[in-house]
């Protein structure tokens, strides 16, 4: 089994779908000739030609809007918005058309498109190149939001996303792109959207994370183990649909919940998870749940981002607080 990093695993999924389905087109800013600023699509234009894999004008709204047009006309566009911080010009298309088309046409028109969206901080990038706005996107009815944390999951989830009948925001943790390799099957496989994964089972606390924060979470869980704390770690994988069932099962076992993400605290993914746990499993909780997240500030520039991005030590601190609370 080949060892792949996240970039290679995503590319492997795109390669498979381009070869497997003529309706699949891959496009965006710089994705063709150059292979994308992160080289995720490198070599695909050469292999599949300029009709299938192409560069677009520098205009996010029409990249998404034209994607919708192609999708209603029977294609399966897989488009790239270069950075999460560049999605804003396309928000009108996402909110007023892409997410609504199926419902407002009562299923007569559907939008099976995938938007690949590199997101997240910790890479000392320029302003607006480090955002983590998944909560904003997951708030829009009609969209699915998927965030892999490993090469293996990325390939299986992306193939499922491209085969989904619904529009999917496939958010790629930039910090993980080349961070590590993992054995990834060369052939195609699928991981269902909307299913979280219990990465490590534990007994005392539940820690929920996703995307780039999964690496931080894993390190924190190791540190916690050294302190004698048994933490159950869940990788969400899908932000919407959210796998409430897996979360509840874990919390009912451990009685303590912490949610970790990069994006701002208020109205975020952690808030939603905690609300759901409160609704369905409040009486199993032995301590108030905790949010370990970025702040309600703009993403700081590189000299400040170490404060904003949760670190394993900060997560450990929060886990210890959570554990010691109301014992």
């Amino acid at each position: 089994m080949p060892a792949m990093n996240l970039v290679q695993a995503i590319q492997s999924a795109l390669d498979f779908k381009l070869g497997d389905d003529e309706r699949v087109l891959v496009f965006g800013e710089d994705v063709g000739l150059e292979g994308g600023v992160f080289r995720v699509t490198q070599g695909l234009q050469e292999k599949y030609g300029e009709r299938r894999v192409f560069d677009t004008p520098l205009a996010e709204s029409v990249i998404v809007g034209a994607g919708l047009g192609m999708a209603v006309a029977g294609l399966r566009p897989v488009l790239e918005i270069q950075f999460c911080g560049f999605i804003y010009p396309a928000m009108n298309q996402l909110v007023t058309h892409v997410s609504r088309m199926r419902n407002r046409s009562r299923g007569a028109f559907t939008v099976p498109l995938v938007i690949r969206l590199p997101y997240g901080g910790g890479i000392q990038a320029l302003e607006l190149h480090s955002e983590s706005m998944e909560a904003m996107l997951a708030h829009i009815p009609g969209l699915k939001v998927v965030i892999p944390s490993t090469p293996y999951d990325a390939k299986g989830l992306l193939i499922s996303a491209i085969e989904s009948e619904d529009p999917v925001l496939f958010m790629e943790p930039k910090k993980v792109y080349r961070a590590f390799r993992q054995e990834v099957p060369a052939e195609a496989y699928r991981i269902p959207l909307g299913k979280a994964s219990v990465v490590q089972s534990g007994t005392r606390l539940t820690l929920v994370a996703y995307g780039a924060m999964m690496r931080v979470a894993r390190q924190a869980v190791e540190l916690a183990a050294q302190e004698g704390l048994s933490v159950e770690l869940i990788d969400l994988r899908s932000i919407y649909p959210l796998d409430t069932e897996t979360l509840l099962e874990s919390v009912k076992k451990t009685g303590r919940l912490a949610v970790l993400h990069e994006g701002p605290t208020s109205f975020g993914v952690a808030a939603e998870i905690i609300a759901r746990v409160n609704e369905e499993a409040l009486y199993w909780l032995e301590a108030p749940p905790r949010r370990i997240t970025g702040f309600d500030t703009v993403m700081p520039l590189p000299m400040g981002e170490q404060h904003y991005m949760p670190t394993p030590e900060r997560v450990l601190y929060e886990l210890i607080q959570l554990h010691n609370q109301a014992e």
């Binding site: 087109l25 029409v62 034209a66 047009g69 999708a71 006309a73 088309m101």
Partner: protein, 361 residues
């Protein structure tokens, strides 16, 4: 023809003058008398449906809706230049085009009564639902055109939007994309002189909207939008150009919104009565009727008969829609996603429990 009416030189294509006289034989569409009469009937049908819809809104049988009056020639003339297999991307003021495509007055009324089903005209998979956010649908037309080209199809897309729509970023992005990729799209701008209250002269400093095509590297032409023949001839030429793989075309139909923006609007707040009076004799129906009558193809009896038929059709459609009431709860949840996520099922069940509680109380 697309090149002989240079918008930068202030040219505007007109074939049928206000008097009903043909003033331009060179570009006269080859239409049989029957086809011309049919086109007039369709315009009249759209006019009647529009007038009656306004009345129905006043009777509170439907809600706020946009008013089409004055734009029937632009809508019908352009739609008649296309094939059934072609795509139509609507704004929301092209009732005549939608009817020509095979859409129904019933669905028009149903949508504005408040049902999503009104958006979906049965058997018309290439008529997109109307688009509320201004100009945003322009990018969809580019994408559909892109798909057609990719699939090697010979269909074209017509995309309607207004003068206000040309100020949107999506106008720029959509036209630019379509031109870069030579997408088979006719961008059809209904310049009705107003975006709600804003007069066209405040919308852009460009002398014409058609001339914006020049910057995108596509032909642009301004036509008298109240002249069925000019609209039709230009759209036909555009369709040929576009279908032959030469890329998109921009048409500006110079027309006038004779009514309010919507039933909730009061034009007396922002435009002088004299202006409306000035446009009244340019009414697209009036001009075509004069022409048909001068050729012995039309008379008062036929006018009354057609008007009565359209009235009866609209009344019957309204009565049918009157019978439709609340959207079933399940429908609200059924179409948001292809598979109903567990969270949606939970929300639905919780609301149903409330309904049962209310029922039992």
């Amino acid at each position: 023809m697309l090149t002989s009416y240079d918008p930068l030189k202030g040219k505007r294509l007109q074939i049928l003058a206000e008097s009903g006289r043909i003033v331009n034989r060179k570009h006269l569409p080859e239409w049989t008398d029957e086809a011309l009469v049919e086109a007039y009937r369709l315009m009249l049908r759209a006019r009647v449906a529009d007038e009656k819809a306004l009345l129905f809104q006043r009777q509170k049988r439907i809600h706020t809706l946009p008013v089409n009056k004055g734009q029937e020639a632009a809508a019908v003339g352009s739609a008649l230049a296309l094939e059934p297999a072609d795509w139509m991307v609507q704004s929301y003021r092209e009732l005549g085009a939608v009817l020509q495509k095979g859409g129904t007055i019933r669905n028009h009324l149903l949508y504005f009564k408040g049902s999503e089903w009104g958006s979906v005209h049965p058997g018309l998979p290439r008529l997109l639902p109307l688009s509320v956010p201004i100009g945003s649908q322009i990018t969809h037309a580019a994408g559909i055109g892109h798909a057609i080209r990719y699939q090697g199809g010979s269909e074209v897309v017509i995309c309607y939007f207004g003068d206000g729509g040309t100020s949107q970023g999506d106008f720029h992005e959509g036209l630019n994309w379509a031109a870069v990729f030579k997408c088979p799209v006719i961008f059809f701008c209904m310049n009705n002189q107003y975006a709600i209250s804003l007069n066209r002269r405040h919308q852009t400093a460009s002398a014409t909207l058609a001339q914006k095509a020049v910057a995108y590297g596509m032909p642009g032409i301004q036509v008298d939008g109240n002249d069925l023949l000019a609209v039709h001839a230009a759209t036909r030429a555009a369709a040929e150009h576009v279908r032959s793989g030469q890329g998109p075309v921009l048409i500006e139909a110079y027309t006038y919104r004779m009514g309010p923006h919507t039933t909730a609007d009061d034009p007396s707040l922002y435009r002088p009565k004299e202006e409306e009076e000035e446009w009244a004799p340019r009414d697209p129906l009036l001009r075509l009727r004069l022409h048909l009558e001068s050729r012995g193809l039309w008379d008062s009896a036929r006018e009354d008969e057609s008007r009565a038929a359209a009235t009866a059709e609209t009344d019957a459609a309204m009565r049918e829609v009157d019978e439709l009431h609340e959207t079933p709860l399940d429908e609200i949840f059924a179409h948001q996603y292809s598979d109903r996520p567990a969270e949606l099922r939970r929300q639905q069940a919780a609301y149903e429990a409330y309904l049962q509680w209310k029922e039992a109380r």
